[in-house]
């Protein structure tokens, strides 16, 4: 039986990262785009915690800071989404084209 090494965790994190990137690029719903960003941040967190197994606790500290950033980003992003929905009655990213000319 193959022992579970750091590489296994990195592969899981890579899969989550790729899923998040696909979600950000292809979905139209802003809420799901934000959720895909959370998936990407979580993949990075998993990498950091997996490497903290090799190099000491600093990776876990960074994971906590990344979680803080994710909370701030979600709050501001969802605030923007509410403001946008109030003005245009839609949640689709490709209808957000006020700055396009």
């Amino acid at each position: 039986m193959v022992p579970i090494t750091t590489l296994h965790y990195l592969v899981v994190a890579a899969a989550l990262f790729v899923l998040g990137v696909i979600g950000v690029l292809t979905r139209r719903n802003v809420v799901i785009v934000l959720m895909s960003i959370e998936l990407i941040l979580n993949a990075v967190n998993l990498n950091l915690v997996a490497f903290s197994r090799l190099y000491g606790l600093h990776g876990q500290i960074f994971a906590i800071f990344v979680i803080t950033d994710a909370a701030a980003e979600a709050a501001v992003g969802l605030g923007i989404l509410i403001a946008f929905f109030r003005n245009k009655e839609t949640v689709n990213v490709d209808e957000v084209d006020l700055l396009k000319w």
Binding site: V2, A15, L16, A74, A75
Partner: protein, 169 residues
């Protein structure tokens, strides 16, 4: 304490996490996506526990699955989803999406195949009982400044969210 059935739990949690991730980006109803994301976050908390990071696992469950996801669900209920559900869910960027996935996947595979000796079998034994204590020592010692900046960032985010969501200021 000696861990038991590590292989089984790793593959179980990894499967739960990845399948929930796929569900997040494929479901039509955003509420289902949010619930799948909660499952993915919980599976990932289990992976953190297996990596001897109980504090990060607790923060993940309380803050992510309990805090951020409640925020997401509230916003989903604030914006009406009936109309959005009837529309096309994917934009015409799927070529770019598939391309990015292939390039990123190839990049990760290349890095991991080339550098697999770098992270093979050098795991240091992290103490599980004093994990929270050691994180606190580091957080209030080495990372004091970053900690204060993080609190400032959260303050800015709170004010920003209130200003954004307010009807008129």
């Amino acid at each position: 304490m000696q861990p038991v059935a590590t292989t089984f739990f790793f593959y179980f949690l990894a499967l739960v996490t990845v399948i929930s991730g796929v569900l997040v980006i494929t479901r039509r109803n955003p509420v289902h996506s949010a619930l799948a994301l909660i499952l993915a976050l919980l599976g990932q908390a289990g992976l953190y526990l297996m990596l001897y990071a109980p504090f990060v696992a607790g923060v993940q469950i309380i803050l992510y699955a309990g805090g951020i996801m409640v925020l997401f669900l509230f916003v989903i209920m604030l914006v009406s989803i009936e109309r959005a559900q009837k529309e096309e869910q994917f934009n015409n960027m799927w070529v770019v999406g598939v391309l990015a996935a292939l390039v990123l996947g190839g990049l990760f595979t290349g890095v991991y195949v080339k550098g697999r000796d770098l992270f093979a079998g050098r795991e240091i034994a992290l103490p599980e009982q004093s994990n929270t204590q050691q994180i606190a020592v580091l957080l209030y010692g080495n990372y004091m400044f970053a900690f204060e900046i993080a609190s400032l960032l959260l303050l800015v985010a709170i004010i920003g969210a209130v200003v954004m969501a307010k009807k008129r200021i």
